[in-house]
């Protein structure tokens, strides 16, 4: 290895990245557009001024949450059935990161909303795949394990983890982390875990609680959190969709504050926040506005991204269109790995 490469790798050892995606697409109308700003006070007033803000992040792939998240983590527009229990077809960011930088399994984690995401941590790509990906934590599944049987409505309701299709039953399997293993990491008993969950208002709050525990105990260098409460929009209740956005806004600020307060993260962590895509426009006759993301219209394909960190320009707006597949090569440049099979390009504005 050449000296400059060694230096780069040494520098990257100190770098960490936290990615937060909203796995229920959010529209500009309810976030950064004038009508939506009241829903995101934390992102607007606390985070945006410290960020480089990309106003047009286009997702040209399939607008289903699992396949879209898989496209973001691979940097390639994946084409599998959104409701199938399959691994991404291309190497994930976690595999590039761990293989290139020889990082242990404890250094890359995904916290994802539902059973359907249990294979998001590693691909089926030859030369990558099993053993090289991220640990996947599915908080609702952990909760289901911890809950005693016969909790009726609570159990059913919490496991209703897919708002996109009522006719969906994921096949259990994959590489998610088992209950006992996680509780050991978090140094919690099952009853402590449940007690904590009983004080939280939503599955996303549980996800962020777990993220904070992981950050404190293991300090992974690459942490990916997919929030999902917003996707209640598929039920058609606008107020619940707005509540989901408001909660995500608050949780993003909490994650950022955790980054600042944890010595392992402060001043060496770059945080990326982006919805996986938008939702249908009010003006698309073929859709029903915020409720779904089925038309493929520009509003459903276009969203925003906020990047914050020690080496990121503050209060900077980037109006050129970029793609959601640009995130992984950007992480590659930041952390020092080569996302060689990506379709996207590094975002030079934050490097």
């Amino acid at each position: 290895m050449k000296p400059y490469a060694l230096a780069a790798q040494a520098a990257s050892l100190k770098q960490k990245a936290v990615v937060v995606t909203f796995g229920g697409g959010a529209r500009d109308d309810e976030t950064f557009a004038p009508d939506g700003q009241q829903n995101i006070p934390h992102m607007l007033k606390e985070l945006a001024p410290r960020s480089t803000f990309f106003t047009q992040v286009v997702n040209r792939g399939i607008l289903g949450h699992y396949v879209a998240t898989a496209s973001i983590v691979t940097g390639v527009y994946e084409t599998f059935n959104n409701f199938a229990a399959v691994s991404p077809g291309n190497p994930t960011v976690f595999e590039y990161f761990r293989k290139d930088l020889r990082r242990p399994a404890t250094d890359a984690w995904v916290i994802a909303p539902s059973n359907g995401f249990n294979r998001i941590g590693e691909s089926s790509y030859k030369g990558y795949g099993p053993g090289l990906g991220a640990g996947v934590i599915l908080p609702k599944r952990l909760l289901a394990t911890a809950l005693t049987a016969g909790n009726g409505e609570a159990f059913d309701h919490l496991l209703r983890d897919n708002y996109e299709s009522s006719a969906y039953s994921p096949i259990i399997g994959g590489t998610d982390v088992e209950m006992q293993q996680l509780l050991e990491v978090m140094k919690l008993s099952v009853s402590d875990f449940l007690s904590r969950a009983r004080n939280l208002a939503s599955p996303d709050e549980l996800s962020v609680y777990i993220a904070r525990q992981l950050m404190h105990r293991l300090a992974p260098s690459l942490l990916w959190i997919t929030l999902h409460d917003i996707d209640v929009a598929h039920s058609g209740a606008y107020s619940l969709y707005l509540e989901g956005i408001q909660r995500s806004d608050r949780l993003c600020a909490e994650i950022w504050n955790t980054i600042q307060s944890e010595p392992e993260y402060a001043n060496k962590t770059t945080m990326f926040i982006l919805p996986d895509f938008g939702r249908d426009s009010d003006l698309s006759a073929g859709g029903n506005g915020f409720q779904h993301h089925r038309t493929g219209d520009p509003t459903s394909r276009t969203t925003w991204m906020m990047v914050l960190g020690p080496n990121v320009h503050e209060n900077t707006i980037v109006d050129r269109p970029v793609e959601s597949t640009d995130l992984v090569p950007t992480l590659g440049s930041l952390l020092g790995f080569d996302a060689r099979l990506c379709q996207g390009k590094p975002l030079h504005e934050v490097l």
């Binding site: 527009y77 209640v232 039920s235 058609g236 209740a237 107020s239 073929g286 029903n288």
Partner: protein, 405 residues
């Protein structure tokens, strides 16, 4: 099977009117590409339960295509013929189950990155078809009325109807008088003046009051249907082998009779009510979603002259901590009036947008009243946009102006 192989026998499973239309359209259907034919067949298959306006639109569409020469038709269909389908689609029973085919087609188009091209082709086709139609004057301007805010005792400390307020005049000193009764009697008068089947609609998030001359659909009245459907869906989920395709097919083929519920005798209206619950998302759970979706579908399908939508408080969404606390109170027994009002504000906006997509949009009228509160908003050619009128006005006068101006 390809469209070219279609014969009269292909439609033997179709209901009577649908079969008659399909058979008489055979020469046309045989010339269409596979990526398009099932769209038309889905419409034809439902002919027996279509509203008069949509049946006329189907006939117009067939006539539009039949009037083309072979070259013109090939040109019109070129974007659809150019789509690449897969073997599963080609071998599926798209004649008997065009709806299922379309779902699979949609998934295929997304996966093969052909969705954008398809969307563009569809929009062009619909635009050209509509442009070919001669404008038919309406009996009277369309009117949409939305009642929102049941269950809220005091005025809210925030601006209301913000999106709609940009389009019309907000009245802030409305005297409700007899309230809903005022609205009902004025609407019945209008229906009597312009009688026509399915031209006047009354949608309610609770129990729909029977209004003379109106087609009424109430979330409350449909409770037995909702319960039967929920039981059917739960049984499917809990089956040893859950088959989502089968569930979709079963839901699509559901009838009042198959649920053990007595039909009302109005087949198109029964079918309409049922599809709100079998095809809508969230309509089974939230009454606010039900009203918004019902208004959208009524406008899209029946193109009514008058549409009244009344929102009722929906069930409250319980937070996780309450669900985990062991509280056994069924969600349906608790309501969320404030959240429901937010839903209704957006629902009213969508209803107005959907009304504006219909003919006569430049003359249409729209009124939304914050029930039992002194706030209403009117959009009409006679009312200024983005204006506020704080002079005292009777609700009855506002309604009359909207209906008669």
């Amino acid at each position: 099977m390809t469209p070219l192989q279609l014969s009269a026998a292909s439609f033997s499973s179709y209901p009577a009117k649908a079969q008659q239309i399909a058979v008489s359209s055979l020469p046309l259907l045989r010339q269409l590409p596979l990526a398009f034919t099932p769209f038309l067949l889905k419409e034809i298959r439902d002919a027996d339960v279509k509203f008069p306006v949509e049946l006329k639109e189907l006939e117009d569409q067939l006539a539009y295509l039949q009037a083309m020469s072979a070259e013109q038709l090939a040109k019109e269909m070129r974007p659809f013929a150019g789509l690449t389908l897969n073997a599963a689609l080609e071998s599926s029973d798209w004649v008997k189950s065009p709806g299922q085919f379309l779902e699979q087609l949609s998934a295929h188009l997304w996966a093969s990155h052909q969705m954008d091209g398809f969307r563009s082709a569809s929009e062009t086709y619909v635009r050209q078809f509509h442009a070919s139609l001669a404008a038919v004057p309406l009996q009277a301007p369309r009117v949409g009325i939305v009642l929102a805010g049941q269950g809220i005792a005091r005025p809210l400390n925030r601006p209301v109807f913000v999106k709609l307020a940009r389009e019309g005049t907000l009245f802030t000193q409305v005297k409700p008088g007899d309230g809903i009764a005022v609205v009902h009697s004025a609407l019945e008068e209008r229906a009597a003046k312009y009688p026509a089947p399915y031209a006047h609609w009354n949608l309610d998030g609770g129990m729909a009051s029977p209004l003379k001359g109106f087609s009424s659909v109430g979330y409350g009245q449909l409770a037995p249907v909702r319960e039967a459907l929920t039981a059917k869906m739960l049984a499917a989920y809990e089956a040893r082998h859950f088959d989502p395709e089968m569930l979709r097919t079963n839901l699509a083929n559901t009838t009042f009779q198959s649920l053990g519920i007595q039909p009302t005798g109005d087949a198109p209206l029964d079918h309409f009510s049922l599809t709100l619950l079998t095809e809508g998302s969230g309509t089974q759970i939230y009454s606010t979603t039900f009203v918004q979706w019902a208004a959208r579908e009524a406008l899209r399908r029946a193109q009514p002259l008058t549409l009244l939508s009344r929102y009722a408080p929906r069930q409250r969404e319980k937070p996780m901590n309450e669900l985990l606390s062991g509280d056994k109170t069924p969600s349906q027994q608790e309501t969320d009036p404030n959240g429901s009002f937010v839903d209704a504000e957006m629902g009213a906006y969508y209803t107005w947008l959907n009304q504006q997509r219909l003919s006569g949009a430049d003359q249409s009228r729209f009124l939304v009243w914050f029930e039992n509160q002194p706030v209403a908003l009117v959009i009409s050619p006679a009312h200024k946009r983005a204006a506020v009128d704080s002079s005292p006005v009777e609700l009855a006068d506002l309604v009359r102006k909207v209906l008669l101006s």
